[in-house]
Symmetry: C2
Subunit: 323 residues, 2 copies
């Protein structure tokens, strides 16, 4: 029997899951919708079935040793998702115990960006780094912060909410109830809002004028930018400016060796990396200039969070002597 | 021979130093001006003489085991003060080796706020905390951040520059070359600038109209506020609002158990603590509300940084087996 762990990456829109071996290799994977199920039990039934199918369909006989989960507002200490603004399920969801009841194996959960940071540290391009930050640019903006080689959970398990740092006074309304939070500008959703603001404010022709808000995505904004669409290019420039300026402040606090950008919006490559680097450098204190790398994931764009979630439970099992 | 260490707290205006015993008790202390000496060697000659006098004048025979220093922009890794905007000495000052040459004992240096955080952790009110932040409100604003029971130095030793996080776009000019940095609003100097801005903008009578800028201090602004001076009260309220709002962002990143406010401006007590608490709570994400304490130093206002610097070298000596 080959021992494996399952990694689950719960995003605001899609939940990805996979079976990961002891070397951090993703053996098989799948996805289910996060938004379809208003009831968390029904969502977990669907997810449980899908993961059990993956295990059954394998050509080798597999033994599931544990499950790691990355999810928005997930609390490592309590094992719960608590008050996640981007999910259907309100209040406190005891996700670890729900999954433990379904699989009867140890479960560790943390926020999706912490899981991605764990993946980068165990198997990716942060293997030799003690101080770095992972930022996930999906439906929202998450951050996983590593200091002295350890994830920053904070006193209550909720540290790393960079997405809800204020960047514009009385700015855009945010799912958290606040206004002007970084993720309302810098995320797959944030850049859509920026495109619509630009389309309202400016007069240039743009192919984006043909796409309704609900069909717009960071992917089609990126493709428009590839084709030279000026609204799309301007939207990336504004997004990178806000992110870069905010990262200059983050560097002043943490002085990381590198900042990794992951998730949907980061797939736009140079469109987002170039202005982010430029505006971060421009706003950095002199002592930090030219020192901090802004990098894509070393695990590929799609699987870092699954592999990271798997890494989280693997480290737990090794630390507790079960692996 | 009784073993002791020396703690040195280099502030933008005054350098305080003291002899500290192995229990963290300050046995004797003194101070010299930081600003009088344009040449760092002359400054260190003066300081060295003063510390040697303290040792000689003791009734017991003392053996100096090491020296700990807290100073602006001090780098723990390199032992240097590097590009400190609030000091006379420009460029890179190899302070640890200068002091080692004069005393022939081990020297450890870090920024003044990190030293204060070390003091709070070893001897003060953070003894049972793993995640907390110390903010020093002196000539500038420094921060010492503790995560998982360890100081955050970052990749290059310069982490914790909360004073240079941007809080106002194109705001006040800062000694670091930037604009709108937190310390230009929230520090002993920052509140003076706020008072002058208010005196320029508003028409109320105020006893502060009689004091020239160079004679104004957070202490006399605090006394005016005690007497009900509306400009002074308004200045504290504005200072606490900017600090509280910024701390809400800091909590989102670190989720600390407590934030300690130290240094000159913190002596104003309720004038600064009440609006800071109020505006932090108002701006916190829901998940953090009511959880984070804002506290004065547990070591008294005057000596936390000296005792902290002493604690820094003491921990070094213990770790290296010399104590």
């Amino acid at each position: 029997m080959k021992k494996v762990v399952a990694g689950i990456d719960i995003g605001g829109t899609i939940t990805k899951y996979g079976i990961v071996d002891m070397e951090g290799k993703l053996c098989s994977e799948g996805s289910v919708s996060t938004t379809t199920y208003k009831d968390v039990e029904k969502y977990l039934d669907k997810l449980t079935g899908a993961i059990k199918s993956l295990l059954d369909e394998s050509s080798e006989e597999l033994e599931l040793a544990g499950i790691g989960v990355g999810a928005p507002n997930a609390n490592y200490y309590s094992g719960s998702i608590e008050y996640a603004p981007n999910l259907n399920w309100q209040g406190v969801i005891p996700l670890a115990s729900h999954l433990n009841a379904r699989f009867d194996v140890p479960v560790a959960i943390t926020n999706d960006a912490n899981a991605a940071a764990m993946g980068e540290m165990m198997y990716g391009d942060a293997r030799n780094m003690r101080d770095f930050i992972v930022i996930t640019l999906g439906t929202g903006l998450g951050s996983g912060i590593v200091v002295n080689g350890e994830l920053v959970y904070g006193n209550d398990g909720f540290a790393g909410e960079l997405g809800h740092v204020n960047v514009v006074n009385d700015g855009r309304h945010c799912g958290c109830g606040g206004r002007g939070c970084l993720e309302t500008y810098v995320s797959a959703t944030g850049i859509k809002r920026t495109v619509y603001e630009l389309l309202a404010r400016r007069t240039e022709e743009s192919e984006l004028r043909k796409i309704p808000f609900d069909e717009l995505s960071s992917e089609n904004i990126s493709k428009s930018a590839d084709r030279g669409d000026r609204i799309a290019i301007k939207a990336f420039e504004m997004t990178g400016r806000i992110l870069g300026k905010c990262l200059a402040d983050v560097v002043a606090l943490f002085s990381p060796e590198a900042i990794f950008l992951l998730g949907g919006l980061s797939k736009a490559g140079d469109h987002i990396f170039i202005p982010t680097r430029e505006y971060m450098e421009k706003n950095l204190m002199k002592i930090f200039r030219g020192k901090v790398k802004i990098l894509p994931s070393g695990l590929g764009n799609t699987n870092a969070a699954i592999i990271g979630a798997a890494g989280l439970i693997r480290r737990e099992l090794v630390d507790s002597g079960e692996l």
